[in-house]
C-alpha cells in the first residue's frame, strides 16, 4: 500500500459543529415508579423475580433471564449498602457530573442482588475501599433521575 503522503493543507476549512437534539424518553412504568418513590418518599425500590428470586435495582418490568413479569413484585431495599467496587475518576469532561477527582462506585444496597452505579462523596478518594458502608444522601432538588440521590456517603457510627 502506498504510504500516506502529507497533503497540501492550505485553504482547508474545518467546520466546528454541535449536535443539539431536543428529545423525550419514557422512563417506563417500572422506572417511573422507581423515580417517583425516590423523589417523594426517599425510598429505593427494587423488584424481585418470583422465578429466580433475584432482586433487581434499578427495577425493570421483566427478568432478562427467564422473561418473568416483575413489576408487581416491588421490594423496598435499604438506603444503606456497601461499596462493591469503585474507580477514582481523574479526568475532567463535560458529561461528568463532578470535577475530578471523584469516586464512581458500584453500591450493593442492603437487600438488593445487583449493585447500582453512583457517586461516593464525603471521603478522601485515597481512602475509599471495597466493603465501605455507605448511605444515600438525597438531593435537595429533584431531577427525576437517579440523581435524586445526590450521592452516597460513608456511614458515621
Amino acid at each position: 500500500m502506498a504510504v500516506l503522503r502529507r497533503e497540501d493543507t492550505s485553504d482547508c476549512f474545518v467546520m466546528p459543529g454541535k449536535m443539539v437534539l431536543p428529545v423525550q424518553y419514557f422512563a417506563g412504568r417500572a422506572g417511573s415508579q422507581f423515580i417517583i418513590s425516590l423523589r417523594d418518599e426517599r425510598k429505593i425500590l427494587g423488584v424481585k423475580c418470583p422465578q429466580c428470586k433475584k432482586v433487581y435495582v434499578p427495577p425493570r418490568e421483566y427478568c432478562e433471564k427467564d422473561f418473568t413479569k416483575l413489576d408487581e413484585n416491588w421490594v423496598e431495599v435499604g438506603n444503606q449498602g456497601v461499596v462493591a467496587n469503585f474507580t477514582v475518576v481523574h479526568y475532567n469532561d463535560k458529561h461528568l457530573p463532578l470535577k475530578a477527582p471523584y469516586i464512581l462506585a458500584l453500591i450493593k444496597l442492603d437487600g438488593a442482588d445487583t449493585p447500582i452505579a453512583h457517586i461516593v462523596s464525603g471521603i478522601d478518594p485515597e481512602k475509599v475501599s471495597i466493603g465501605l458502608r455507605v448511605e444515600a444522601v438525597f438531593a435537595d432538588k429533584t431531577t427525576n433521575t437517579i440523581l435524586d440521590i445526590d450521592h452516597f456517603a460513608p456511614i458515621v457510627d
Binding site: 502506498a2 424518553y25 433487581y56 469503585f86 474507580t87 479526568y91 458529561h95 433521575t145
Partner: protein, 380 residues
C-alpha cells in the same frame, strides 16, 4: 459446508488526527488499494453487487452515517448495508450473505475518526440511558476503570505486569507501518504515568485514533479470481452481556467465553491452546489483554498476571501489530485486527511477520467494560 474467503485487506495509516483528509478520501484510498490488489470492479455481471460498510453515527455527527460515504465505497446503484455494531460483526454479516447464497462477493469498507469528537468519552456517555447511567457520567473509560479494579484483584495483576503489556505493544507497533503510537517506553514510564481513572493510568489507555480499513470477501468458487492465497473464515461468534454493570460479574467475561465457544465450535477447534497460532485482540486498556486472553481460553481463569510473567502473549503471537493499545479507532478496531491477521496468514506482514501462522483468532469488543464481544477464526 461452503467456505467463505477473505481475499485481501487494506489499511489506512492510523493517526491521532487526520484533519487534513476527509474520511471519504481515506475510504477512496482503501478502495483503490484493494482494487489494485484484487482487480475487483463494480460491473453488473462479475463485479461487486453488495457492500457491507461500518461507521458510527456519533463520531461522524450524522445519522445513517453510511450515507456520507456511499459514493466513495461504491455503495450507489447497488446493495449497501451498514453494520452499526462493532465492525468485526460486518465480517459475520458478509459471511452470512455469502453462505446463504444471497451474493458471492462482498466489499467491506469501514472508517472512524475519533478526532472529530471533542471527547470520545462524551460520545460513549451517550450509549447510556438518561435515568440511571448517563446522568452519572458513565462512559467507556470509567466503566473500564471499575472493571480493571475487579479483574486486577481477581487475577492478581500488578502495575509491573500492566507496564509489560504496554511496553511490548509499543515495541511491536514500531514494526507496523500502519500503527498509530510507536514511541518506545520503559516499564517505569508506564508505572508512574498519571492516574486517568484509577487503577487505569494514562499510558494504559489507547490513544485517540483515526483510520479506515477494507476487506474483500468471496465464496470459495469465486475467491481465486481475486487472490492466489485466500484466507478462510472458519469460525464466528458473538455474545451480548447484561446492560447494567451491577448485573454482571465484571471480573470474568461471560460474553467473551460464549462468543469464543461459538466460534471455536464452528471452526471445529476443541483445544484453542493447541490450535491457535496468532491472536489479534481489542485491548483498549492494558488490563484487557490478559482478561480477554482468559476469555478466549488461552490463559487459565484468574491467572492473567502469571500469564504475562510467563510470556504467554508472546507464545500465542498476541497483537504483533501493536494492537488496540497503540491506537485503533473504536468501532472498527476489530476490522484492523482482521486485516492484520489476514496479512499474517498470507505471510505479508513484513517486519512483524510471525513464523508458521495457520490459525488466527481475531477479537473485538464494544459497550462499557466489555459488554459485547465478537470472535472470528481465520485459517489459511
Amino acid at each position: 459446508m461452503k467456505r467463505v474467503a477473505i481475499c485481501a485487506a487494506a489499511q489506512h495509516k492510523i493517526e491521532p488526527d487526520i484533519w487534513y483528509k476527509r474520511f471519504q478520501g481515506m475510504l477512496l484510498d482503501i478502495l483503490e488499494d484493494l482494487q489494485k490488489q484484487t482487480g475487483f470492479i463494480f460491473d453488473d455481471e462479475k463485479g461487486v453487487h453488495d457492500i457491507v460498510s461500518c461507521s458510527d453515527d456519533f463520531f461522524d455527527a450524522r445519522t445513517i452515517s453510511d450515507n456520507g460515504v456511499c459514493d466513495a465505497i461504491g455503495g450507489h446503484y447497488r446493495g449497501e448495508d451498514k453494520m452499526a455494531q462493532e465492525g468485526l460483526n460486518g465480517i459475520g454479516y458478509a459471511m452470512a450473505m455469502i453462505l446463504s447464497g444471497h451474493d458471492d462477493v462482498i466489499y467491506l469498507p469501514a472508517h472512524c475518526k475519533e478526532s472529530q469528537a471533542e471527547s470520545r468519552y462524551m460520545n460513549s456517555n451517550l450509549a447510556y440511558d438518561p435515568f440511571y447511567c448517563r446522568c452519572l457520567g458513565l462512559d467507556y473509560l470509567n466503566t473500564a476503570g471499575l472493571q480493571a479494579r475487579a479483574y486486577m484483584q481477581k487475577a492478581k495483576i500488578t502495575e509491573e505486569q500492566l507496564a509489560k503489556v504496554v511496553v511490548r505493544a509499543r515495541r511491536w507497533a514500531s514494526r507496523n507501518p500502519y500503527a498509530n503510537e510507536t514511541r518506545q517506553l520503559e516499564l517505569g514510564d508506564v508505572m508512574f504515568s498519571p492516574m486517568l481513572c484509577d487503577p487505569i493510568r494514562t499510558l494504559h489507555a489507547y490513544p485517540v485514533s483515526d483510520g479506515a480499513v477494507g476487506l474483500l470477501l468471496a465464496s470459495e468458487e469465486r475467491a481465486y479470481e481475486f487472490t492466489d492465497n485466500p484466507i478462510w473464515i472458519t469460525g464466528f461468534g458473538n455474545c451480548m452481556d447484561s446492560y447494567f454493570l451491577g448485573d454482571r460479574d465484571l471480573a470474568s467475561s461471560l460474553a467473551l467465553k460464549k462468543a469464543a465457544s461459538q466460534a471455536y465450535k464452528m471452526a471445529g477447534i476443541k483445544s484453542p491452546k493447541k490450535k491457535v497460532d496468532l491472536v489479534e485482540l481489542m485491548d483498549c486498556y492494558a488490563y484487557q489483554q490478559p482478561m480477554w486472553l482468559e476469555g478466549l481460553g488461552l490463559c487459565a481463569e484468574g491467572k492473567g498476571g502469571q500469564f504475562i510473567d510467563e510470556n504467554g502473549p508472546a507464545k500465542y503471537n498476541v497483537n504483533l501489530s501493536g494492537g488496540m493499545l497503540t491506537g485503533r479507532p473504536l468501532m472498527i478496531g476489530g476490522l484492523y485486527g482482521a486485516a492484520e491477521a489476514v496479512l499474517q496468514l498470507k505471510g505479508q506482514a513484513g517486519e512483524h511477520q510471525a513464523a508458521d501462522v495457520n490459525c488466527a483468532v481475531v477479537h473485538s469488543t464494544t459497550g462499557g467494560a466489555g459488554q459485547f464481544h465478537t470472535v472470528l477464526v481465520l485459517e489459511r
